[in-house]
């Protein structure tokens, strides 16, 4: 009697354990669906502003990212990009200094700009829109970022651009609140290559 009841208990425990492991395994496989990408050095995040109607391109030398994305697994995809605003490079020291200053990014007080999105929509072949939030100079606004993305041979290639109004983020203080010289509309863009 003792032995058969122990056998039953063990069998029950084993079954419960199996079910727990099975659920955990299925859950895990779902969580892994959108892989995490490590970006190559060729990846870039930048912008194009306009001065007096002429384009002035720039990029950020330093940014970090946590990109979980797969075209077939949008539900579990998420991106978070943290840009060091002080790393702005427009190929001119005095302009970069002005952009870092309190007039624009105020990089001393707001060293980071962050874009986060966990909602994605497929709009066409390899075409997506990330619906997220951009925090710049301490101000957060919703931002929709259209992009193209594809995964081939374990390599993610994605690029996209959108425009924002810099004054919505308080970027442009004093005389720079005027858009006479520097346009209010600024294009932001990215071009990334990621390995798993």
């Amino acid at each position: 009697m003792e032995t058969s009841s122990m056998k039953m208990t063990l069998r029950l425990l084993a079954s419960v354990l199996f079910i727990i492991l099975a659920i955990a395994f299925i859950g895990r496989s779902h969580a892994q669906a959108a892989p995490l990408w490590t970006l190559t050095d060729d990846s870039s995040v930048g912008f194009t502003a306009e001065q007096s109607g002429a384009p002035v391109p720039g990029k950020f030398e330093e940014f970090s990212s946590e990109i979980k994305f797969h075209p077939d697994q949008l539900d579990s995809s998420s991106i978070r990009v943290v840009i060091q605003t002080g790393s702005v490079n427009t190929e001119d020291n005095s302009r970069d200094g002005t952009i870092r200053s309190g007039s624009f990014f105020d990089s001393d007080s707001h060293p980071e700009a962050t874009f986060e999105a966990s909602s994605f929509e497929k709009t066409g072949d390899d075409q997506f829109v990330a619906k997220g939030t951009l925090n710049l100079r301490g101000t957060s606004n919703p931002l929709e970022l259209p992009f193209t993305a594809s995964v081939e041979n374990g390599v993610l290639k994605a690029s996209g651009s959108t425009t924002l109004e810099r004054l919505d983020y308080g970027v442009g203080i004093g005389e720079w609140a005027s858009t006479a010289v520097v346009s209010n509309t600024v294009e932001i863009n990215f071009d990334i290559i990621g390995n798993q």
């Binding site: 007096s52 391109p57 427009t90 190929e91 001119d92 005095s94 302009r95």
Partner: protein, 189 residues
């Protein structure tokens, strides 16, 4: 009054080009050095762009002037002038003509390299034919500065030589470039 140069004096086109460019280039050089003292970037953008706009006009006049020099060659230097003085004069003129083109050209490419557009009198931006490049911008900025100083020296030598002709040699080399000179012995057309 002749549009073209004659054997003894400059015509009205050459004189108009000479004096308008003199005024423009001296203004541009003075402005160039003065702009170096500005610290407000919005002021820098405004005045540097004005300098660029005037520089474009100087380039245009410089090209016109070189073309005109072939259309209507200048009157020769006095026959009794020593050969080394003639050589010095021709060298200075050649240097000036060269800098009429080189200095604005360097300025334009420098603008492209810095990524600050050339907005002709704030009317419309001229297209940039290259992407900004900090390293190139530094080289071109320094070049523009030193060519500016070279212009100062050659213009000073040119003006000093013209005054020497007038006050020491007492010939008509300066007078023939001045306006409103009465015809001499009917030699003027």
């Amino acid at each position: 009054m002749s549009l073209k140069n004659t054997a003894t004096r400059y015509g009205s086109v050459a004189r108009a080009l000479h004096w308008s460019m003199a005024l423009l280039i001296i203004t541009l050089i003075a402005m160039g050095f003065w702009m170096g003292t500005l610290s407000e970037i919005s002021e820098i953008i405004y005045y540097v762009n004005l300098h660029k706009s005037l520089g474009i006009i100087a380039l245009f006049l410089g090209i016109l002037r070189i073309v005109w020099r072939f259309v209507s060659p200048p009157p020769p230097l006095p026959a009794d002038q020593p050969a080394h003085e003639k050589l010095a004069a021709h060298t200075a003129h050649l240097a000036l003509y060269l800098m009429f083109i080189v200095q604005p050209a360097v300025g334009i490419v420098h603008s492209w390299a810095t990524g600050y557009p050339i907005v002709f009198f704030n009317i419309s931006p001229l297209p940039a034919l290259m992407a900004p490049d900090k390293g190139l911008a530094e080289i071109l900025g320094a070049t523009h500065f030193y060519v500016g100083w070279a212009l100062v020296f050659v213009i000073a030598a040119h003006a000093a030589a013209a005054l020497k002709h007038h006050f020491i040699d007492k010939d008509d080399v300066l007078l023939r470039m001045l306006p409103h000179r009465a015809p001499q012995n009917g030699r003027d057309e």
